[in-house]
Amino acid sequence: MAKSTFHYVTYIRTTPERLWSALTDDTEFMQQYWFGVRCESEWRAGSSWKMVHPDGSVSDAGEIVAAERWKRLVIRWWHQRNPELSGEGESVCTMELESVGPAVRLSITHSMEREPSKLIGAVSGGWPKILSNLKSLLESGAVVLDDIGRK
């Protein structure tokens, strides 16, 4: 079957432990670089996962497929809000962390088993902003974009 995928990479001068925490259980930190969004989960294979907005609404939900601490996180990701996107069904988002010298290489691969995919189109615009914010927050302690990154 055809597949829609994007694959983004950023190098962040931090440790895999710190980055892992920023991507998972440190929701307060997450809200700073993810435009107020926090992801809630127990971050273990099989546990549920959801994306919660500042108003308490949930836009995306799913399940943790794999969680290797400090290394790899795979999320079964189903958009819930916009019918055009939710009708496409589940997507898979894989985050991989790898130490490279003084930095950590973070790659995000998000794909769906259909071509084209509106969901993949929608999230592909958001990820660079989130990743860029995450990088500057971890490296300098400040985000570059706050309110304006939201569509």
Partner: protein, 107 residues
């Protein structure tokens, strides 16, 4: 060379920009697929891809024996935020203020 130097060096070449255009139109291409659309040797394409990868503008994923190439816009986002994004902020704030004012129940 620092990250920004690598980035601008990679973008300075028209062939490399064409490769990014090709990936932008259709992501996840193999080397052979890219070669079909470019008038240069396979070795030439590989060398250009190495420069793009060093600048983190192209990221690769292995799928079996194939290597797929993806456009990675994250460094471009950083450039955008460095020089452009800050100018948008006051304008967006003005719009948000206007909206709040107009939507206030007592006008």
């Amino acid at each position: 060379m620092n990250d920004a130097d690598l980035l601008f060096k990679a973008l300075a070449d028209p062939s490399r920009r064409k490769m990014l255009d090709l990936l932008h139109a259709h992501d996840g291409r193999t080397l052979s697929d890219l070669c079909e659309h470019l008038e240069m040797t396979r070795q030439g394409v590989t060398q250009h891809l190495d420069v793009l990868e060093a600048a983190n503008l192209v990221a690769t994923v292995r799928r079996g024996r194939e290597k797929l190439h993806f456009l990675n816009p994250v460094p471009l986002q950083e450039i955008y935020e460095r020089w452009i994004a800050k100018f948008e902020k006051p304008r967006l704030k003005a719009l948000a203020d206007l909206k709040r004012k107009l939507e206030k129940p007592d006008g």
